[in-house]
Symmetry: C2
Subunit: 421 residues, 2 copies
């Protein structure tokens, strides 16, 4: 970094210009070249195993000294297996089909020209993330695969791990003949630099925050650059009167308890008053170790259901806690969801196809499910091969976003000399 | 309006809540119902012809008294023919296919669920426009056709015309059984209310500014709501060495002179030094009444070419003025375009397919053309049936945007009881 870069804004401008210059080369790079660069990045990470693990040990010691929670330390910690998983994940992204150049559609203009819409990279993507160092490699791989440059800003807790991972990744990219600036890591942990990233409209094309609600909320509040994100995952499962009791129980337990800390975990169960096996389902969830908080009708079903407060219906517990409401039919359920869902994932369990169809059509969330666990809300589970994040905004891309969501398109107009009359 | 609405923010919140409530009904309305509402709106406008023309006469008198330019008065003025054209345009939108519910793609998840991506409306669209009252009807029709509610804010010069048009439109919509609040017109010309619209993230889903550069620049600078727009149309035409001379001349004259005031008009002509008929082309453009401003090599071709200043290459003239540069080959041309294009529409004229292919792939504009006039940059000319605007941003929709660009999508997951392992 030159000593002339004396403000966060100038730093970000300088990094963004370098990233944009690299991106112009990435935009033209062939499928094989980009895939090769990712495979080289994976190899470089394997070569640097000991350096990366040493850097990570430094972060972990500092985290222990600074009193990081056990969960945060676990997210931060790398070992040989986790590093190998990071390298394999990069190789998996390398084997995904290249979205760039794909023809979206083709038509004929009234004046005779052929019109082709074709996918192109978005440009420079900013990634702002917290303690998981694997995001450094994951996000870099997805951006590069789709022809985008990335400007990464990881959390202070993982600063040494991120630098070591980034150095290996960039060396691999460069060894394959693509610019090292394709993937840049912010050289400072100064929070003002994050602020400057968020304001860098026209320099950074999109920002993806990866982390807890505090981070996402700050990014959404302050950004002038478009943000791809979800804030909350307040996911509902509605057990309709015509649900198969065994299926309803399996799905409810899985949706809540498989992993309670992920954004697709169910936070509220809506049970139809006409569903005959509500007692079984609630009892099984409580037996699985989940605290239940419900409306009075839910409390009447199982005495382990504690009273829910008004806030419970709008709370993402990310824990073994579940809000439960007994509702009167599909409309009542959909009204509850419209009032309390965060628009992430909402599911119905029913054997009644007409009810399912209405739910799938009328519930306005990024993902709506019929007879499946909301824990499937994930790019890998959707067959996308990976994900940069899950979006609940209305524009561009929604739900799990992978390579396609990291592209935009251009119109190519193929004429034979047409002038407009 | 209730007297409790005492701040611009509260006014916008109240209008947005009413619009969002109406939109939930629109989202479920059938194709036939939405088309019927538009036909009823067209009929209501025809019924109200004399009221609308009277209101318009009031605006025109006020405009004359306030010294509006002839061009502005012409944009403002309605007559029987123009009003009939507005009604016909609404009927044309009614006959476009309904984008809502369209299946984008369908796949199978690894765990066996069927995944369907299906188009849905975006929600509430804010339209901020200037003196053309026809935008009131055009924008309202496109929003309603795609299941979106609209909040319209027209220019003060057209306030009576807009109110009369809006009243007729809303009456038609209501007579067809859809909520009148589907299409709302801001009841005040207070500029603070525009500011409140721009900040209403979460209440208004997207804003489309329609008007001059000043309006678009203000909206882009101040908005916290996503904006679909283009600021400039600095469009280039590059005549390659292997261009057919007659075709090059026709396209250049058409691209510049057919209508100089539209965003797709050519503003800069790049002529390859190896193109043999540069003199003919420049002479024909000058003969057509266009002022030419060029680099020294362009001045050497025709003595009517005046020297171009540095600003000329970044100027959208919207007039019979053209910048001309002689360039050395495709790379030189693309470098000029990368430095000066506004990313709207850029064209190459050539008989060399390899050169065309590189240009179409590497020029990073929303629209790239081969052997066609940039004046075709228009939703109607692209066969979209209409357009809400042309976008040069990187996300969501680019180029001419019509009904598809007014939709987003949801994921529908159709399971058979799957729980995630």
């Amino acid at each position: 970094m030159s000593s002339q870069i004396d403000t966060p804004e100038k730093l970000i401008e300088s990094l963004a210009m370098a990233g944009r210059a690299a991106q112009r080369m990435l935009a033209r790079a062939s499928d094989a070249k980009k895939a090769g660069a990712l495979r080289a990045a994976a190899s470089a990470i394997r070569e640097d195993t000991s350096a990366i693990l040493e850097a990570n040990a430094e972060d972990v010691s500092a985290g222990e000294a600074n009193g990081l929670s056990g969960a945060m330390l676990d997210r931060l910690k790398l070992d040989g297996d986790r590093l190998e998983a990071i390298a394999v994940a990069i190789e998996n992204v390398a084997s995904l089909p290249d979205p760039v150049g794909e023809e979206i559609d083709r038509s004929q203009a009234p004046a005779g020209m052929t019109l082709v819409r074709r996918r192109i990279p978005i440009g420079l993507i900013g990634i702002i993330y917290e303690s998981r160092p694997n995001v450094t490699a994951d996000a870099a791989a997805l951006c590069l695969r789709s022809g985008n440059a990335a400007l990464l800003r990881g959390g202070s807790e993982a600063v040494h791990s991120n630098r070591a991972l980034h150095a290996a990744f960039a060396r691999g990219v460069e060894s394959a003949g693509l610019p090292a600036d394709s993937i840049q890591l912010l050289p400072t942990q100064d929070r003002a630099a994050v602020g400057a990233m968020l304001k860098a409209a026209g320099l950074i094309d999109m920002i993806v925050p990866r982390g807890g609600k505090g981070l996402v909320a700050r990014v959404q509040a302050d950004a002038r650059v478009p943000v791809l994100a979800h804030l909350d995952g307040i996911c509902h499962t509605y057990i309709h009167a015509a649900a198969d009791p065994a299926m309803a129980k399996d799905i409810a337990i899985n949706a809540k308890m498989r992993r309670t800390g992920i954004c697709g975990a169910m936070e509220t169960l809506l049970v139809d008053a006409a569903f005959p096996a509500a007692g079984d389902v609630l009892s099984a969830i409580a037996d699985a170790g989940c605290e239940l908080r419900g409306n009075s009708r839910a409390q009447a079903i199982d005495d382990r259901v504690k009273p829910a407060s008004a806030e419970d219906w709008d709370t993402e517990y990310l824990d073994a806690v579940l809000s439960v409401a007994v509702v009167d039919g599909l409309d009542d359920a959909m009204e509850h969801i419209a009032a309390h869902s965060s628009g992430h994932t909402d599911a119905i369990v029913t054997g009644d196809d007409a009810a399912a169809e209405r739910f799938l059509a009328e519930v306005d969330s990024a993902i709506v499910m019929h007879n499946a666990s909301s824990q499937f809300a994930d790019g890998g589970e959707f067959g996308l091969g990976a994900e940069i994040g899950i979006a609940t905004g209305r524009l561009h891309a929604r739900g799990p976003v992978a390579l396609e969501g990291l592209t935009t398109y251009k119109w190519q107009v193929l004429g034979q000399g047409q002038a407009r009359s």
